[in-house]
Symmetry: C2
Subunit: 354 residues, 2 copies
DNA sequence: GACGTAGGTCCTATGGAGGCC
DNA sequence: TGGCCTCCATAGGACCTACGT
């Protein structure tokens, strides 16, 4: 009934625990092939599995800590976890997950006023609980890719930032390649002969260096405008929306329509804005893509519910999760930003201009 | 630099490790208050935290295994994890998560042909990896609430099924109260004086005992029709959709409209169907809720993006996750189905009939 | 040389026996 | 004789160096 231990296996094979350990771990030793076979057979018969708790006292714990702010709340977060788990499984690692409940918008200014080397208490309880389990490393993820200060407590093990950039110097981080993504989506309009009647919805070029703006947003916009500039294109309008939700998209587009702007293509900065845009267009009797094309970012599940389905540059969360684990376990991983491409999902919302 | 150990604390306090252990664990002993204070101070100063790996060799691991099928893929799954984590934190527990990659649709028929007590190999590798970390219990969750056979390997620790019913006898499981949810939504129509022109979209009363139908669906429908029957109401139509997505909802409603059915209220079996219904209604120039009311189930994020927002009975995933952890840690938890209410989100898609 | 094992180590928890003033 | 504390032993499971025969 109880879990069989190494001694049980050894006893059954008529050998010492030492011998059993050596064999089951493929350590070079002078044990006979016959003895090895007996041990393996015994282990198989008993269904022996090493006790990781005991093992971690001497070696690696085969465990990875996954810390996020509110990631599991958002639909997207699951994909990062999923990717990380897939990758972790390949090397027999397991994921220990936690949420710090810190508001990701407020860079948690860790007081550096500690007396004496370390100052517990101001560190996140969640992270400490995690470190108590001796993970081999920690993945520190955020919902919105923001600069983050890694709590000092977490620095005792390797750290990889996931969907978060580091405010500090030499940090290993994984981010979507927003700049290239912006170029892809803008390029799509160029390739389809759009040159006028283009509206950018979500943020204006002038607003990208607002304090509230994340690096992700500005890179996305930089990518878009780098392409526009190369082709001498000036958008018909740029609409700034503080909150990127359906309501904002709806209002923005309704305003444009009411002003009788000659719309050809809407470049929305995320799918929720695009969703609102659809609503406004439909209400006004305009058809996507016959009258107006719509392109967007994120590849929210939403994007494929829409009619027609939305052409969008996907946030590659699963791949990012995978990469984060790979980097964490790789000693030689470069301490820098690792960018993951945002694949464009070509769907029905885009039609080539004559 | 390295993690301080119990001995480090003891040394600093000028006491033995034994004394330090007794004090930090609040064990009854005859140690002086002065000594106790010295130990606590030393622990604080060093930032001592017990090594859980070592501790679990003698006591509980303070770890809970969270196993799911493909839960982290779906947006909803995150909410269960979130709830579970919140609750786990209250008792200093941490979540170890894994996905079995078994197709949840195929009840994994575990071959009971094992020779000799246990038969490893046919058990899920993911679950074994989890059990190796000696969790205090396992939460076994599925995306679609289906009957599930708990792998034999997992039975060595307490198990709670989350959003999954048990095919076996005495199992502790947590499910949404679909029957009551169905009654709530149908009751909402009654309360708002709907009596004719009601269409049920998603599944017909006759189809609920199909093999493909989950218990969740039939309970939801049973709830709906129990109310309809009590009030002598017969739906105008019941439309069976094998897949509950936007496309199906669109097609169903378009067909009804083309047939010039006098629609008053659409009772959709989930939000994606409702979303498709909206699209068909809008296309036909019908307004929600002025011309047709729409009610639904799940409270997908989608539901609040729609215009008007969708009235829907929410799947209480966060609460379910919390309850699962509470039941797991409670020795005396009743081995039965624990049902969690589905709160109705009253929003703009419903208007009272004159 | 061919084959294998004893015993210390990682860190914590705990009961019982004894020491010191 | 208390009052206060420590050492020892043991346990938990696996790993590994250094020794046997």
């Amino acid at each position: 009934m109880a879990r069989p231990t190494l001694s049980d296996v050894a006893r059954r094979a008529g050998l010492s625990p030492t011998a059993a350990s050596l064999i089951l771990n493929d350590r070079p030793s002078r044990l006979s092939e016959d003895a090895a076979e007996r041990v393996r057979k015994a282990a198989r018969e008993l269904g022996y599995r090493p006790n990781m708790a005991a093992r971690s006292l001497r070696t690696k714990s085969q465990t990875i800590g996954f810390v996020s702010d509110f990631i599991t709340l958002a639909g997207f977060g699951g994909q990062m976890i999923h990717g990380a788990m897939q990758e972790a499984r390949k090397t027999e690692h397991v994921l220990l997950i936690t949420e710090t409940e810190q508001d990701p918008l407020v860079p948690h200014a860790i007081a550096e006023t500690g007396v004496e080397g370390s100052e517990p208490g101001d560190e996140s309880a969640a992270i400490n609980a995690l470190l108590d389990r001796l993970p081999e490393g920690i993945i520190y993820a955020t919902v919105r890719s923001q600069p983050v200060t890694v709590p000092k407590a977490a620095r005792s093990v390797p750290v990889v930032l996931l969907n978060a950039s580091s405010s500090a110097e030499a940090e290993c981080s994984v981010l979507p390649d927003e700049y290239a993504g912006g170029r892809s989506i803008a390029g799509l309009l160029i390739d389809n002969n759009f040159s006028s009647g283009i509206v950018v919805i979500g943020s204006s070029q002038t607003a990208i260096h607002d304090p509230g703006s994340t690096p992700a947003v500005s890179r996305r916009l930089d990518g878009i405008f780098s392409v526009f500039d190369e082709h001498g294109i000036t958008p018909l309008a740029q609409i700034d929306c503080p909150i990127w939700d359906a309501q904002a998209g709806y209002t923005a587009v309704k305003t444009l329509i009411d002003a009788r702007e000659p719309l050809n293509a809407l470049l929305c900065l995320n799918d929720r804005l695009a969703f609102g845009a659809y609503q406004a267009l439909t209400e006004a009797g305009l058809r996507v893509p016959d009258d107006v094309s719509v392109v967007s970012f994120d590849d929210d599940p939403l994007a494929s519910y829409l009619r027609p389905q939305l052409t969008t540059a996907a946030l590659p969360f699963r791949e990012m999760g995978e990469l984060a684990v790979r980097l964490l376990l790789d000693q030689n991983a470069e301490k820098k930003e690792h960018l993951v491409p945002m694949p464009v999902q070509l769907r029905g919302s885009l039609r080539s201009q004559a």
